[in-house]
Symmetry: C2
């Protein structure tokens, strides 16, 4: 069994209003040293597969088809074998 | 300048309806090998600080006070020095 830790982030240059809101929240809490905040998604997907190549291809397909929006988001992932 | 990569995840045992929805979406797309999905948050916060100890204490305080809900979420972060 494998666990994929998937990170989906907005592409460089894409406006991030949620990040700006969090930044102003942090500023108003006194964290004046914060210069930028970008918000992404983090997902842990557990899959049954026999090889790392199989799970890697499967997770890539999941990201392309459902988990990320390829127009404005990038993704990367880490694979771990679990019991 | 430092970049903190912050991961906020639901605690073990806390129900994750968003994860269940994504899992059933993946299943209906043909990814039958998916046994579990957990959804978390991923944030990149850029801060000005002079030492790693200073930035570490600052990011911990941000997580405790604003970015994570300590009742039902765990967090961890990675720090990188950036130009």
């Amino acid at each position: 069994m494998w666990r994929a830790k998937i990170f989906v982030t907005l592409r460089e240059g894409v406006l991030d209003p949620q990040g700006q809101a969090v930044r102003s929240g942090l500023m108003s809490q006194g964290f004046k040293a914060v210069s930028d905040v970008r918000i992404g998604k983090y997902m842990e997907v557990t899959v049954e597969a026999t090889s790392i190549d199989e799970v890697s291809a499967m997770v890539r397909a999941m990201c392309e088809r459902l988990l990320a929006n390829p127009v404005m988001e990038d993704y990367h992932f880490i694979l771990e074998e679990v019991q």
